[in-house]
């Protein structure tokens, strides 16, 4: 029997699908998906899956590290803190003694400073310039890659949606084939008890092979807490056989179908049962139908 169409589940799957598509890309690309989602529920779902991905790393047993590893890191941090400003501030270069400030005693021994220091300074600036240029190029390439990846994502989403639509179309096709096949019988289910609103109804289509069936139900109220509706096929001896359970949501049409039906079915009943269903009807019947009509 097919499941009830659940738009929330499809939305969650679509978000997860998009997140998984980005799993091969940078951490930014993964987190940026959150920025692209505007709906609060969608963001929550995305965030939960992102944290799930983060938790995966805890599967690996931790590895011990030598204290030197941390010492090296802290030394790097310290040097980066000290070197950081000096890379951009010319004050460091200017602090070296200039030829005008040179004392007579220094004159002979420091002549190489005349060309070595300016050369070193020039090299430093050239290297800084080159590094800056390379950084800009790298950033541009990253942006291009991310942009192309986003486009690929969009194409993929469209392809996924097309596949979904194709799936739904196939489902509609098969139901249409059933309800328009020759020898198809139609049985109307009508409300019979208080839990069912007066305008609730169901229509059961049974193919000529008496096996394939399709049931459409409208207007039933959502189940009370801990309860679900259960479909029963009843044979000539009055023995009920369960056809499955469902829990309708407001405004969502319930559609059930299957390729098998108990032999000798003469009536269909829907009852309110404990969640998960009962071995035999125990709750009040809400819809019932026993008059089948051959329409084609």
């Amino acid at each position: 029997m097919s499941q009830e169409f659940d738009p929330t589940k499809e939305r969650d799957d679509a978000i997860l699908d998009r997140l998984l598509e980005r799993l091969s890309r940078s951490e930014d690309a993964l987190e940026r998906l959150l920025d692209e989602l505007t709906d609060e529920d969608e963001r929550r779902v995305c965030r939960e899956y992102l944290e799930t991905i983060g938790l995966l790393a805890y599967e690996v047993e931790p590895r011990p590290l030598a204290p030197e590893v941390k010492s090296r890191l802290m030394a790097k941090l310290e040097s980066s803190q000290q070197e950081g400003p000096s890379e951009v501030e010319p004050a460091t270069v200017a602090s070296f003694p200039s030829s005008g400030q040179r004392t007579p005693g220094e004159e002979k021994g420091s002549r190489w400073h005349d060309w070595a220091l300016p050369l070193a300074a020039g090299l430093v600036f050239a290297l800084l310039g080159l590094s800056g240029w390379q950084y800009v190029q790298l950033e541009k390439q990253r942006q291009t890659i991310d942009r192309l990846a986003d486009q690929l994502d969009q194409v993929h989403q469209q392809t996924t949606k097309l596949a979904e639509y194709q799936g739904r179309l196939d489902s509609v096709d098969s139901r249409l084939a059933l309800v328009t096949s020759s020898g198809v019988e139609v049985c109307t289910l009508k409300p019979v008890a208080d839990p069912a609103p007066a305008d609730s109804r169901g229509v059961l289509f049974v193919a000529s092979d008496r096996q394939h069936w399709y049931l459409k139900i409208e207007g039933l109220l959502p189940c009370p807490q801990g309860r679900s509706y259960q479909v029963w096929f009843i044979n000539q001896e009055g023995v009920p056989v369960s056809g499955g359970t469902f829990d309708p949501k407001v405004g969502v049409r319930v559609e059930l179908s299957s390729e098998t039906m108990p032999a000798g079915t003469v009536a269909v009943s829907i009852t309110l049962e404990p969640a998960g269903g009962s071995p035999e009807p125990s709750g009040p019947a809400v819809l019932y139908g026993d008059e089948a009509m051959r329409i084609l």
Binding site: E27, D35, L55, V60, R63, L73
Partner: protein, 200 residues
């Protein structure tokens, strides 16, 4: 994060939560990096090692990660992820970048498998990150996944492979790869709902 939560010199950083530590790092406090390192380095280097299969490389990645945290702490957004997930994602990305540049995927995978993690001593500080029983629970949840679902999840997570690449390497149809990965992630999200709630 409230800037008022930031550490002042002399504050006991051990009492800080992860977000407060990142805030302190943003303010240029080196001891906060040291504290964050103590909490996460063993786990992160293990993750990098699992990807790269090389101890020296994974230690270098660890250095890159914490340098990035130091230089880009202002880019951390608590609305996007927890600190631990942020660190995991950075470590994973840097490791996979290095893996791709080396192009020695087969060798590293073999090396990683040869490593017997049980022989490691339990490192100090791990209790700050994730209690051992919780780790076991996660391992159990992963062990409960059908092998085919676990396989595609590991290829995506540890090797950074796209779903098309996984389909190409395993010979499994792309749709099946997607379904298996989706199912695995959905099961884990459900099974780890308590842990996720703590991180949000």
């Amino acid at each position: 994060m409230d800037p008022a939560d930031s550490a002042s010199p002399g504050t006991d950083l051990k009492s800080f939560d992860d977000k407060q530590l990142v805030l302190a790092i943003r303010d240029g406090q080196e001891p906060a990096v040291s504290e964050l390192y103590d909490r996460y380095s063993n786990m992160l280097v293990a993750l990098s090692y699992r990807v790269l299969g090389d101890a020296a490389d994974s230690e270098e990645v660890l250095q890159e990660v914490f340098l990035q945290v130091w230089n880009q702490a202002s880019r951390y957004d608590p609305a996007r992820s927890s600190v631990s997930t942020w660190l995991v994602l950075i470590t994973r990305s840097r490791s996979i970048d290095r893996l791709r540049s080396r192009k020695v995927k087969e060798r590293t995978a073999t090396a990683a498998q040869k490593e017997n993690p049980v022989t490691h001593e339990s490192p100090v500080g791990v209790k700050h990150v994730f209690r051992q029983e919780q780790r076991k629970r996660l391992q159990e949840e992963l062990a409960q996944l059908p092998p085919e679902q676990r396989e595609v999840l590991e290829m995506a997570f540890y090797r950074g492979m796209t779903q098309s690449e996984i389909a190409g390497e395993t010979g499994i149809p792309l749709g099946t790869v997607k379904t298996r990965t989706l199912l695995a992630m959905k099961k884990l999200r459900k099974a780890l709902s308590d842990e996720i709630r703590e991180l949000l």
